[in-house]
Amino acid sequence: MAITVNNVQQHAADRGARAIGAFTARAVPPAGSEAVAAPTAQAATALLRRLAATRTVTALCAFALFVGLWYGVSAWINNRILVPSPTQVATALVQLGASGELFTHALVSTSRLGMSLIASLVLAVPLGFAMGMNEKLNAYLDPVVELLRPISGIAWIPIGLFIFGVGDTLPVFIMVYVAFFPLLLNTIAGVRNVDRKLIDAARTMGVRRTPMLLHVVVPAALPTIMVGFRLAFAGAWSAIIAAELIGAPSGLGFAIEWYRELLMSPKMFAFIVLIGIVGYVCDLLLRALQRVLTPWAEGTGLA
């Protein structure tokens, strides 16, 4: 329904554009032959219209507007420390990239992220399978999960600082905690929502426990687990910045706070931009992984 309505509107818009193109071509007669100019002008406006409708062009316009606005504000405030201009930030990015500082901090943060995601996968997924398949175990362990889950990972930072001190372990601990719950809950949900008919069918055909798990339960639960993994990543990505900002001597979160204290705002902005880029790239990679691992989830709302 929505698609047909859109098509009709698009069609009407095209016709309107063509009409406007024809009208302007006629109203402002060009120097050359009118018979040739009218269709080209018409084609040009139509082309412009179509270009304006494409996503890349509007995206570029949006970024141009944003950068322009930023330039305006920085020129108006005229204070390098409060609002550095986009060119200053770009120069800082290039400088930091050339000195390699950009990559060291990004590498530190992403390796911590990777480590903690793997650790929480190892902890949460097997436990989720056990709790999803065993009602009794679930009944006993679920209260503990529900008691701990509302306490956000951030709230563990002070006690984590006390236990682990400032260093590598604190961000990893916080992220493992943050990533654990979405993974666990999605694994349980995924395992529980496996179509009973599939299991019954496999059982009727005499499939044993291990093949059943590998060939029926895992493929059916994997899309939900992958959704949990992306949620876990999103939570961990926000938590790592907080953990590094407060309690680590390296990493992206540390770097922005470090350059704020030095009042080197262009570099601080450069690291904020970098955080956005790294987060975006990681999400793209996870989406690709999701498509590769669970192509059968496409179009089910879990993709």
Binding site: M1, A2, V5, R55, T58, A59, C61, A62, F63, L65, F66, I81, L82, A139, Y140, L141, D142, P143, V144, L147, L148, P150, I151, S152, I154, A155, W156, I157, P158, I159, L161, F162, W237, S238, I240, I241, A242, L245, I246, L252, G253, I256, E257, Y259, R260, S265, M268, F269, F271, I272, I275, G276, I277, V278, G279, Y280, C282, D283
Partner: protein
């Protein structure tokens, strides 16, 4: 009498079994924790009984409740800003394809920038105090609200809008009488998610502000935790604060679920 008591006994037994099931593991864990603390011999080691003592003491002083209320006040004001911005922009982006194409890339490029990454910027612009914390909350709460509103508005049944337009209903009335009620479920869902994120963000922001202003002058539950870590070194009090953070998060979630249920009884 006897006909009444017959079904009650099994129900009571079932309830007792259920109660045992849900309390067994938490109680065992608490017991292990207590024994560990006693064996550790350190009178500062956190233990359940000491946490309870600490809780009573902190409540009696009034500091705990004051700090929680202060944090909640910041969450509510940040959330209010995000609600207005998110819903207005969401309606614009959801109903106008051109606006959506223009703003979507910008929104998507800000989304992976974690709220805490902007805390240094907020401190730089607004100083280490309430405005910085509130702006971080507003930023964090903005995205779930915006994205859910856009989703809700763009999913409004076109037939309803077209029918209203055919009958000559003015644009503003279509918005208030057709589009808004139809997208209410999505907005409420966004509000619940946003409030959860906002509560996490305020704790993070207060911790960060407390850590970076050198002395937690800003108040709030997060700053309180940091003071207990950095100055008083009172682990039991930190655990009390963590439990309060969890309980408040749970209460906020339940409150919003209740509101969803009350405002839209047709979707359980």
């Amino acid at each position: 009498m006897s006909t009444m008591s017959l079904p009650v006994a099994p129900v009571r037994r079932l309830r007792r079994a259920w109660l045992m099931q849900i309390t067994l593991v938490p109680l065992v864990l608490l017991g292990v924790w207590e024994v560990w603390a006693v064996l550790a011999g350190d009178s500062h080691a956190p233990a359940p009984t000491r946490v309870i003592e600490s809780f009573i003491e902190l409540v009696a002083q009034g500091g705990l409740i004051g700090a929680t209320v202060e944090s909640l006040g910041r969450v509510v004001s940040g959330f209010a800003v995000a609600l207005v911005l998110g819903v207005v922009l969401g309606i614009l982006m959801g109903s106008n394809r051109w606006v959506r194409n223009l703003l979507d890339p910008i929104v998507e490029s800000f989304r992976p920038v974690a709220p805490m990454a902007l805390l240094p910027l907020a401190i730089l612009w607004l100083g280490a105090g309430t405005p910085a914390a509130v702006s971080i909350v507003a930023y964090a709460a903005f995205f779930p609200l915006l994205i859910n509103t856009v989703h809700g508005v763009s999913r409004v049944d076109r037939k309803l809008v077209l029918a209203a337009r055919t009958m000559g209903v003015p644009r503003w009335r279509i918005l208030t009488k057709v589009v808004l009620p139809a997208s209410l479920p999505a907005v409420l869902l966004g509000s619940r998610l946003a409030m959860g994120v906002a509560w996490t963000a305020i704790v993070a922001a207060e911790l960060g502000v407390g850590a970076k202003s050198g002395g937690g002058g800003s108040g709030g539950i997060g700053a309180m935790m940091f003071v207990f870590y950095a100055y008083n070194v009172d682990l039991n009090a930190i655990v009390v604060c963590m439990i309060v953070v969890g309980v408040v998060a749970l209460l906020i979630d339940r409150l919003f679920r209740f509101a969803e249920h009350r405002l839209m009884p047709w979707r359980t």
